[in-house]
Amino acid sequence: MHSLDGSRGEGGGQILRSALSLALVTGQPFRIHSIRAGRPKPGLKRQHLAAVLAAQRVGSARVSGAVLGSSELVFEPGAIQTGLHRFAVGSAGSASLVLQTILPALWSANAPSTVEIEGGTHNPLAPPADFVRDVFLPVLARMGPRVELEIVRYGFFPAGGGLLRATITPAPLRPIELTERGERTLHRARCLVANLPPVVAARELAIVRREFGWGPGQLEEARVPGPGPGNVLSIELGFEHVRELVSAFGERDRASEFVAKEACAAARTYLEHEAPVGEHLADQLVLPFALAGSGRFRALPLSLHATTNIELVREWLGGRIDVASDERNATVSFG
């Protein structure tokens, strides 16, 4: 049984979610201790519990310690259940994080599945569902597995109430290299608003126009229904071999200007670099690249999330993962 120290590296919920994914894909049990040790309120939080319970259902797992505040958890997976899964995670959790936890098991399974997750789809503390759909899944599709992700309803913080539907067609993973962006093919800004006056979107998009000089064709305003108010400004940058999507969240009493400038600054950072893989995508690619057995990607400097993830995956799967870093790039080679 794998024994993991939950306080290692980034020390938050990431290591737990990665371990759940690994356990489901490999069928190997693990025990994790010191979960979120050293944090103000240590132990399992509600959003982590949501991921554990979803993984338990997908993997018919035997679980102990799955209670709020628990600092230790044992997870022993059984047979992967394909078909239809429905989960509800509430607004404190993030539907996309739960989806990412169970995806590897389902794309490696022997039959297709559909997963519906209700709850928060756009939560400032996690990559939004659009990112998974527009950035991560296209790379995954090049490796084999096809996942169609539909944002049926938007669920903004704090009301939640969103719905994601993912249709997964499994396929063996084939190794790829993702080291260059290629030519730029697309750039656009999209402002999502729910239950807010139109002026919010107009102001945010005006700033993007001023920052980048983009025309009206690149500036899109989308009014979406939902139980509560919500606002996300996303900037999408498309290249031959990769796409990036950065987002900033509107909040009550937060000036639209700040929201727009935050998104623009993130987009500018990506544009100033050459590596194709951005910070969040790097996190998400470690596991599929490692499972493919070989391959390579070049990323912007790695976050602590990503390096923690690399260490865990390396230990668990036993293969080689080499990281070559300089100030502007990190090349991660597998196998």
């Binding site: 309120k41 709020l68 505040g69 607004s91 009301a159 009550r252």
Partner: protein, 539 residues
């Protein structure tokens, strides 16, 4: 937090706080009931939302919003219709009915009563019901986020009314109890375990209760001082407004006893030149300490019982009853049960005052406490006289050796001890007590006790076994034998003494021949029943 049992919240719908707006903007406002279900370290399994039927649409909206933020939560709407939610009687009654009918299962579910919503009256009622145990729950308070109107999460805190669960408070209470116990012991650091346990018990009981207290113990064991300390502590805590009134019942004899205790009207009898309130009346709101209560006459006992039970009594010569509420502390050095059997004490009065009975040991049973008391008495002397007195080291050792030896019986207990030290301190030259003074005092005490113990059972042993014989006995055997001898002397026959001594075994039918058992016991010391009874010296 115990997260093993699912959490169930009981709370009022906040007709103001939960109802900021009805459109999407409500999510920009802090709404306590919804907020409580959003925390990432608390999952509310079920929310029992108490609401008036007229607020049904709001209640349904709150329930729906809780469902989106927290799919784990089931909201149960409980109709609680109140004519006036600010009417204490109505709200309390309605909540009491709710609590009585609710199928609480605290072994399976962890209950939290939400205190932030509802009228202040409702909050008070919920608090009272939790405090009284009608609702087996802890309280939960929620607070708004730092910026009141924002979608940020507020705070919540769980309050357990079981104060012993809070380390700092528990430590504080323990410290207070220790201070009280210290005070009850007049600040003397006593070491005798039995005595310290007794004081601890008195601290628990006597300080919190108005019930009568019975202090048993030999004369001079400190009953009166203890009664006064109990009063002082209660007075300090403002539990008592009235005074401490003390009387020795042995001094209340004859016709004046009634009027001394219960008062009289002017002209009630010859010599009643003016109204007299009496001791009971004077003790109103305070403590009445009746020492040697066994000496009280039967008429006075009857009146006292009525005063205790009803708070009323009839002063001598009065037409109407007087009232007084006081705490009774009774002292006795006699076995009141025996007095009841002999018809000298009312059994109903005994039953009334026997609720809390504390037996104070004599000084000879507390030899460990003699040294701390010695220091205490010297301090008291210094405080009274403004003059320091101390023992030379050798003198102190010699005095303590005697004072703690089996020969020192201290029949008058602290009275004797205090007198001995007063004499030593008075005679001390230049505040120094030397060995000569101590030797003189020991001699004086021996003589005084020799006189006093002519009839005592220890003396009887000397009589039967000779001084050498007694000295050869272990203390263990000496005490036992002394008691056996005193029973034998009071008995008419060997069988009667045997029945008395082995009464408990007899009741269990585990001893068939008491007389034989006693005969064999006495034979171990070379004694026979007849000789023990007559008290003749050994041949």
């Amino acid at each position: 937090m115990d997260s093993k049992r699912p959490t169930v919240v009981l709370g009022f719908l906040g007709v103001k706080l939960d109802d900021s707006r009805r459109d999407a903007k409500r999510w920009d406002h802090w709404r306590p009931s919804v907020d409580l279900c959003r925390h990432d370290d608390l999952v509310v399994q079920r929310f029992e939302l108490l609401a008036d039927s007229k607020h049904n649409s709001l209640a349904r909206q709150v329930a729906a919003d809780i469902a989106t933020v927290s799919p784990e939560t089931t909201v149960e709407l409980r109709a609680l219709d109140l004519v006036d939610p600010w009417d204490f009687e109505e709200v309390f009654g309605a909540l009491l009915d709710f609590a009585r009918a609710y199928p609480f299962a605290p072994e399976r579910e962890d209950y939290l009563v939400h205190m932030t919503t509802g009228t202040h009256v409702a909050q008070i009622c919920l608090f009272l019901l939790v405090e009284a145990g009608y609702i087996p729950a802890r309280l939960v308070q929620v607070g708004p986020p730092a910026r009141m109107n924002s979608s940020a999460l507020g705070t919540y805190s769980v309050i357990d009314l079981d104060l012993s669960r809070y380390d700092k408070l528990a430590a504080r209470f323990r410290r207070e109890r220790d201070e009280h116990a210290h005070s009850l012991k007049s600040g003397i650091a006593t070491r005798n375990t039995a005595f310290n346990a007794l004081i601890e018990r008195i601290e628990r009981v006597a300080l919190d209760s108005d019930a009568p207290v019975l202090l048993m113990g030999p004369t001079g064991a400190g009953k009166s001082q203890l009664a006064r300390r109990v009063y002082e502590l209660r007075h300090e805590r403002r539990a008592l407004a009235g005074p401490f009134v003390e009387v020795n019942c042995a001094t209340l004899r004859g016709e004046t006893a009634m009027s001394a205790l219960f008062g009289h009207k002017k002209g009630a009898f010859t010599g009643a030149a003016s109204d007299r309130p009496g001791l009971l009346r004077s003790a109103d709101g305070g403590v009445l300490f009746l020492d040697e209560i066994g000496e009280l006459g039967l008429d006075e006992q009857a009146m006292l019982l009525r005063a205790l039970e009803e708070g009323r009594f009839l002063p001598v010569g009065a037409d109407s009853e007087a009232t007084s509420r006081f705490q009774l502390i009774a002292g006795t050095n006699r076995d009141l049960r025996a007095a009841v059997r002999e018809g000298r004490f009312r059994d109903d009065l005994l039953a009334r005052i026997d609720l809390w009975t504390f037996r104070l040991p004599g000084l000879a049973q507390r030899v460990e406490d003699i040294e701390p008391n010695l220091d205490y008495e010297l301090q008291q002397w210094e405080r009274r006289r403004g003059q320091r007195v101390s023992f030379s080291r050798e003198a102190r050792e010699r005095f303590l050796a005697f004072a703690t030896s089996p020969q020192a019986r201290w029949p008058g207990n602290f009275r004797d001890f205090n007198a001995a030290l007063t004499r030593l301190a008075t005679l001390a030259h230049g505040g120094r007590i030397d060995t000569a003074l101590v030797d003189e005092e020991i001699e004086r005490l021996r003589e005084a006790w020799g006189e006093a113990q002519r009839d005592s059972s220890v003396d009887a042993l000397e009589e039967l076994l000779g001084p050498a014989g007694v000295a050869a006995l272990d203390r263990f055997d000496r005490v036992q034998l002394a008691d056996v001898v005193s029973v034998c002397r009071a008995a008419r026959s060997l069988s009667e003494a045997g029945r008395e001594l082995f009464a408990a075994s007899r009741a269990r039918k585990s001893s068939s021949n008491d007389a034989d058992r006693l005969r064999k016991y006495l034979a171990r010391f070379g004694l026979e029943f007849e000789r023990v009874r007559s008290g003749s010296t050994p041949r």
